[in-house]
């Protein structure tokens, strides 16, 4: 079957991808800059595949509806933006502990507090270091194009079920609003089989399934944690993904995720015009973070600069990856400002090129 090529807005493409991925239920709440996801789904999803689309009364309610539905083994998702994502953190901790699969989307905006409606990347810590309580990890995918916004939905669901873990697409308001051409996948059928672990009604031939997260005994909880940690080590071994652009003979490497990685590519082109060899390292999985790839790259370059739309979050992981081998600088903009390629190059020259030559 032919895949369809369309010009679409990021949020709408993501919603379309959800329908095509055979999503069973979406529970969400309006918040700028991602309300189009809920609106798009409210319009046509149920008519096309019968999936549930429900506008909940809050993000707290949304994530708990996701938790309930995910516990039945269905393909369930929600989306929000930074302040709403904060409200979901408790629910995400429960989902991760109970090991039920779900897809989360954070279309980041400037923060903290109510912040701005312009794009941001300041929820990196929240996403990958665990914004909720306890030791857990959310598989985090960072798209940098509208195409990746589409691709990561189907992949995200697959990963969520494979590892029985929440998966997050960490994107931003600019990607959510921009229009690009996308190749849409084929329609995947909705789930008809129950998962063996799902709370779907106990038939006589099995023990009851309980989706829960409590233990009254510390030793039981520790074993539970160890099981989760073992899973995370497996994820770290199997899922790391990154992209290196022109890094083979680069002197300096810009490290950035999502939208900013594309801006850095332009900055690299401008650098080349000035005779400075700059590559771009783009982590695609933010958890699991590509520490080893960065570490290897550090052998061949003079320095790194992490560029982010925050006050310095991913740079900490970059430093961990580089592990002291080479200098790691940082340039960031906050509050919803998007850095320009010229400014990135200027900062690179100021912080790294000038210092080291």
């Amino acid at each position: 079957m032919k895949k369809e090529l369309k010009l679409m807005k990021g949020n709408e493409a993501l919603a379309e991808a959800a329908i095509l991925a055979g999503c069973d239920a979406y529970f969400g709440y309006p918040i700028t800059p991602q309300s189009e996801v809920l609106e798009y789904l409210s319009n046509e999803a149920t008519a096309r595949t019968g999936m549930v689309v429900l506008q909940a009364e809050s993000e707290v309610a949304s994530i708990n509806m996701v938790y309930g539905a995910a516990g039945t083994g269905k393909r369930v998702m929600t989306s929000s933006s930074s302040p709403g994502m904060s409200l979901m953190q408790e629910g995400i901790s429960y989902i991760a502990c109970a090991e039920v699969p779900c897809l989360l989307v954070n279309v980041q905006r400037g923060g903290p507090g109510l912040g701005t409606i312009q794009p941001g990347q300041a929820d990196y810590f929240q996403a990958v270091k665990g914004g909720g309580h306890g030791d857990y990890k959310v598989i985090t995918l960072a798209p940098s194009t509208v195409q990746e916004m589409v691709d990561f939905v189907g992949e995200g669901f697959d990963l969520a079920f494979k590892y029985r873990n929440p998966v997050m697409i960490l994107t931003d308001g600019a990607l959510g609003q921009m229009m690009e051409k996308v190749l849409l996948p084929e329609q995947k059928p909705r789930k008809t089989e129950f998962e063996s672990w799902g709370s779907t009604g106990k038939p006589a031939n099995r023990e009851r399934n309980i989706i829960y997260t409590l233990s009254l005994q510390a030793d039981v909880m520790e074993k539970w944690n160890q099981r989760l940690q073992a899973k995370y080590r497996q994820i770290e071994n199997e899922l790391v993904r990154s992209e290196m652009i022109d890094c083979e003979d680069a002197d300096f490497v810009l490290v950035a995720y999502g939208l900013v990685a594309r801006i850095c590519q332009k900055a690299a082109h401008l650098a080349a015009e000035k005779g400075i060899k700059v590559g771009v390292f783009r982590p695609i999985t933010l958890y699991p973070f590509p520490y080893a790839d960065l570490n290897k790259l550090a052998d061949n370059v003079k320095g790194f600069m992490s560029v982010e739309m925050n006050a310095g979050q991913m740079v900490e992981d970059v430093r961990l990856g580089v592990n002291g081998k080479k200098p790691v600088e940082f340039h960031g903009r906050q509050g919803g400002i998007i850095p320009s390629p010229e400014e990135i190059l200027a900062k690179l020259e100021e912080k790294l090129v000038g210092e080291l030559v």
């Binding site: 239920a25 009364e57 707290v60 509806m65 779907t200 009604g201 106990k202 309980i210």
Partner: protein, 272 residues
Amino acid sequence: MNEKTMTAEDDLHFEQMIAEESVCTKENLVYEKPETLTDATMHYCPGCGHGVAHRIIAEVIDELDIQKDTVGVAPVGCSVLAYNYLNIDMNGAAHGRAAAVATGIKRVLPDKYVFSYQGDGDLAAIGTGETIHACNRGENILIIFINNGIYGMTGGQMAPTTLPGMKSTTSPFGRDVATMGNPLKITELVAQLPGTYFVTRTAVNSPVNVRKAKAAIKKSFEYQKLNKGLCFVEIVTNCPSNWKMTPVQSNKWLEENMLPYYPLGDIKKPSN
């Protein structure tokens, strides 16, 4: 030839024979605990109404034969471990969120019987938003609201339903309406929403009330099968430990103090 007549003595002997024969036979069994109630010893305090509430839910599930089609949602509170006592698939929700969790389950499994079981803090404090909106949407679920006017699991703090003047660890001089507000009659509130189909208040302090509470739960599951809307069954119950009374005293206190404030009966009768 043996001539034998039934004398009065023989008669008496005959009676005695019948009397001494044990009554406890299989044919004479009129009540035992329901199958859907597990054999686990419930951790609830002696005399706590949670045990009775769990038991009657299990009885209804057995009688309607819906064990394989029922999914329950447990709250945070004393009954956080309800899933240890009911032999059905269950989800343990975050504090206050059971109505949202139940909504999620019912929306993706519309043919199953879905219920939430929540205490007064879970349902009417932290969970008020989720409770009201599930009721407002008319989710086809049953919400069982266990109201004992106090926070049991965390050691006896004031609840939204604590009575005026009632002492708790956070209202040590008695609930002061001026600074702490009146008890929240959430049941009456949700009854006003068109999405609720059947709203009733019961108790389990006496055999008569236990039977009525069970009947309310049974009816609610039957209404759920007919997609009538949200059924809300409040069970006013005791907390002997935190009320600092014996179980028998606590039921008496309940009759004298809780029931006048939270009167039993249908607050919203089914409309059709």
